[in-house]
Symmetry: C2
Subunit: 555 residues, 2 copies
């Protein structure tokens, strides 16, 4: 009998910034590839001047003819935001639910010139067969409408991908996470569960979205003036609650901020948002209505500098000024990294005379990911043979893996993998079988580059100590100085200390040039010598290391 | 009868970075000035290359002969860290408790060359009379030994300054906050209470420091391997608990990290730390002792890059490598701004195989400031006529003021002031009577400057988009180009995209120079023209705004 080596299923998370598999993941079996999600990441503070980060897709470009499709779990930026960049290089079909599809199309209209996208709309229960894969979408609750998990049937077994999820049994919009379907799958046998680890640190259950209504209710009842609410525009269920509670309190709602206006428009047209009759009002109504009849719904929950709420806080908003009696509700948590911006906004609003209510003071927000008891329930229902925590930084994955082990899963069946790791599955085994380079591409204006390229290192050096540029002209043959020595600094030293320091530096350069007068003049050698000397000189006098650029023109 | 205008008491918080009055405050009456605290602040992420920030003391230098003394409430950096910079310009006596004094002296040894400090040691109950002021120290609980509040008797009334405080009725080290003395003062009449607002957001009571012992006890009992603990070195009561619990579990403690070694040395010599017999061990013991007999106490609770814990996490520590079975305890919270560094450290430790226990997972830390019920109790005991929240960002002050009003204080007797505001007191009134400029000085190596100077703005511009330097030599009379055009970039564009972009830029420069060939050549005009053209050119091609520096040498 000829030996026949069966194919293996390969799972590779990509993305590169630590939130494993959140932005992109690939599944490969015998020449067929499917991609799950195509998201972007926002830069951290060590990445000045970077607009966004996207997964490097060299690995996809090399295999472009084998990619069957991109499957989108939901419409958040960290799951769809890379599509304009990717689809411009890779013409593959995209499968997404209605709301995600709308958001993708809007995004492509703005940034996808020349792309002719094929975006197929799917809904809960739909099954898509592509090559060796059959992909079924099942509804999960998350902080955006129409979020999905995936059931992926493959020749070696079934993979369940949770998407981003929580178990809200009374969601404000859409269906609860389909526990019945998951139990059914569990009974039939699941090879591996890939599950959202974002809140693996939090014990208990994440509160239901509806609980926010109670807080909003109380706030609107107590506020004698206007109530100004900000939240994530894509958190449509929160917007729905704001509209409902406002209507109940006979307050009319004015929307401010482009993102919020657009999202409400999209969500209403697509049928997710049910707008109570006559709840919206226009700018001209604001001066007519008594303040206790007004709600303002604004962008700016992350303290974004050009958002409506920040413009209000800074007295730069065209229509709205804070007056005493205003209550501001921050119905969102700051995304890590945004805390300082959000705090500054809150401080400014208080300073203007508002009362501000935020997460530390009242339950004005609940988050969109499951806590530990929900994570356990999912594992218990799906009963996977192998468990792979995804969507989290390493500590979240570790804690989620530990949770699975604490429920009795054998340690060797639990895999904490990182971006680029190749996790290989057969019908009866799983193992880490190598690693590919899973890099990150930065987007900086029209520029693109590898996150590890020198540009970012240089930016950080420039940021830390500034730059000194030295310029002089020297005679090619005699080495004689033909010009003044021109020294300019940027971001290095303040005017009061600068004069004497630069005068002294010039003297040192003169000495260095004189010592080196020989013919013919070797430009690079001279430049390097002056540069080394100046770096030492500046360090001695300032204990700083400015970037020193010496340009000696030889004529 | 001649009209006699009585003197007023003036209170002015200084410091400038939003944590009002935390770092420095002055009190002035009829030509006498006392200063309370002299702390530094750490830079935020928008301040690259800045080591520390200190209050600008022009206002003190102008009044140097009227300053009677500097009163230190406790030895944290944000209350003493500016002393080396200030005492080098201002020879005034400093009054501090024993532990704070020790820390100040250590600090001055390192950074105070040439200073002959006069630092007088005081203790709880001591009273210092200087000019019109009499200052009494009273003990408060905080996260460092020997913390004090101040009772300041003035001709217009008594001011109570809480210092940084919590109400721990069973402190691990030192005395509980002296509620009796405060009640006594309250009965006699207090003009104004200045009170710590740091945790005005938190309801209830801050847990007692001793509660951490219970968690540590459980962790040490359960850990089958080594327990590695990090905390703030100055949190001596935590160190004490680690030593006690270790001794109870027959574990020996190895100290790693300079700051921790020094602090334990200081605290032991000064009598604050009681070291159980034979609890410490040396590096050479580590390989001999079974792992469940070892505790490592390390610096690095804030993820500081050169700290012991971070070196351990990065496999760079000389004596210690993480092995499976190790448990790491982060017995501290990240100071705002340090979250990313701390998370990275935790992730690395998990990756190395350790189990890491941090604040989100167990009560391994309690903080050092009072929560809302404690703040209320202080107000109730002291019964001040006027209330001034201090030590907090604006929202904390606002919430603390709101708390005071909610207890029945008349709104007009509650003052939310900011750095630079002059709060004026008479025996029967208080009012904001103007504002002085309360700036912040940055320290960057040996350089000093105003935080609002151009240097920081330039650093941020450089960081965002990098720099382009252009150099050429032109004949003075003919305008003819005598050299090649030299273009260099730093932090702007990566190699693959750079070549063509710079070639094209050179062509544009050539055209610009040719158009402008006239005699005599006006260097500045030519440079400005080329710079403007290049800025537009680069923006068109990259959508970025690099700093363009054009140097045209005219010979």
């Amino acid at each position: 009998m000829p030996s026949h080596k069966p194919h293996k299923l390969k799972l590779i998370p990509l993305g590169g910034l630590g939130e494993v598999g959140k932005n992109m993941m690939i599944l490969e079996y015998s020449g067929d590839i499917i991609v799950i999600d195509a998201g972007l990441m926002f830069p951290s503070e060590e990445m000045p001047g970077i607009d966004v980060l996207i997964p490097s897709i060299d690995v996809l470009l090399e295999r472009r003819h084998r990619i069957k499709g991109i499957f989108i779990t939901h419409g958040h930026e960290d799951h769809i935001g890379a599509l304009p960049y990717i689809l411009s290089q890779l013409d593959v079909p995209v499968y997404a639910t209605k709301f995600a599809r709308e958001l993708i199309l809007t995004k492509l209209k703005r940034r996808g010139r020349g792309i002719k996208p094929r975006i197929y709309q799917v809904r809960a229960g739909n099954k898509v067969s592509l090559g060796h894969f059959r992909i079924e979408f099942f509804p999960v609750c998350h902080s955006i409408p129409d979020a999905m998990g995936l059931v992926i049937s493959t020749p070696v077994g079934t993979i369940v991908h949770s998407g981003d999820f929580k178990l809200d049994h009374s969601p404000v919009i859409g269906e609860p996470t389909d526990l019945g379907r998951l139990a059914q799958l569990g009974a039939k046998g699941v090879l591996a569960l890939l599950s959202d680890s974002t809140y693996a640190e939090l014990s208990g259950y994440t509160p239901a979205e509806k609980e926010v209504s109670e807080t909003l209710d109380r706030i609107m009842a107590e506020a004698r003036g206007r109530v100004i609410i900000t939240t994530f525009a894509s958190l449509v269920s929160r917007v729905q609650q704001v509209l409902n509670v406002s209507a109940r309190h006979k307050r009319r709602v004015f929307i401010t901020g482009r993102g919020m206006i657009d999202m409400i428009d999209t969500a209403t047209k697509a049928g997710y948002l049910k707008v109570p009759e006559n709840v919206f009002c226009q700018a001209e109504d604001l001066s007519q209505l008594p303040h206790d009849r007004i709600v303002l719904l604004a962008t700016g929950s992350q303290g974004e500098p050009t958002s409506a709420l920040v413009r209000i806080a800074n007295r730069e908003h065209k229509q709205i000024r804070i007056v005493p009696g205003d209550t501001v509700v921050m119905s969102a948590t700051p995304i890590p990294g945004n805390e300082a911006l959000v705090n500054r906004t809150v401080d400014s609003l208080f300073r203007q005379g508002a009362r501000v209510i935020y997460g530390k003071l009242a339950q004005v927000h609940v988050h969109g990911h499951g806590s530990r008891e929900e994570l356990k329930l999912l594992i218990r229902l799906v009963k996977p043979r192998f468990f792979v925590p995804i969507h989290g930084e390493y500590r979240h994955l570790w804690l989620h893996a530990d949770l699975a082990r604490s429920m009795g899963m054998p340690a060797e069946n639990v895999f904490v993998i990182e971006d680029g790791d190749i996790l290989e599955f057969g019908p009866n085994f799983a193992r880490v079988a190598g690693k590919i380079s899973a890099g990150t591409t930065y987007v900086s204006g029209l520029l693109r580059g590898d996150l590890k390229s020198p540009v970012l290192k240089e930016r950080n050096l420039l940021a830390r100590d500034g730059a000194v540029v030295v310029n002089a002209v020297v005679n090619k043959r005699s080495g004689e100085l033909l010009s003044e020595i021109d020294i300019r600094t940027r971001g290095f030293v303040d005017a009061p200390q600068q004069g004497e320091l630069l005068e002294q530096a010039k003297k040192e350069i003169l000495i260095a040039l004189r010592q080196d007068k020989k013919s013919p003049v070797e430009r690079r050698i001279l430049e390097e010598k002056v540069q080394g000397m100046l770096s030492r000189f500046f360090y001695t006098h300032t204990h700083r290391h400015p970037m020193v650029l010496v340009l000696i023109m030889v004529v």
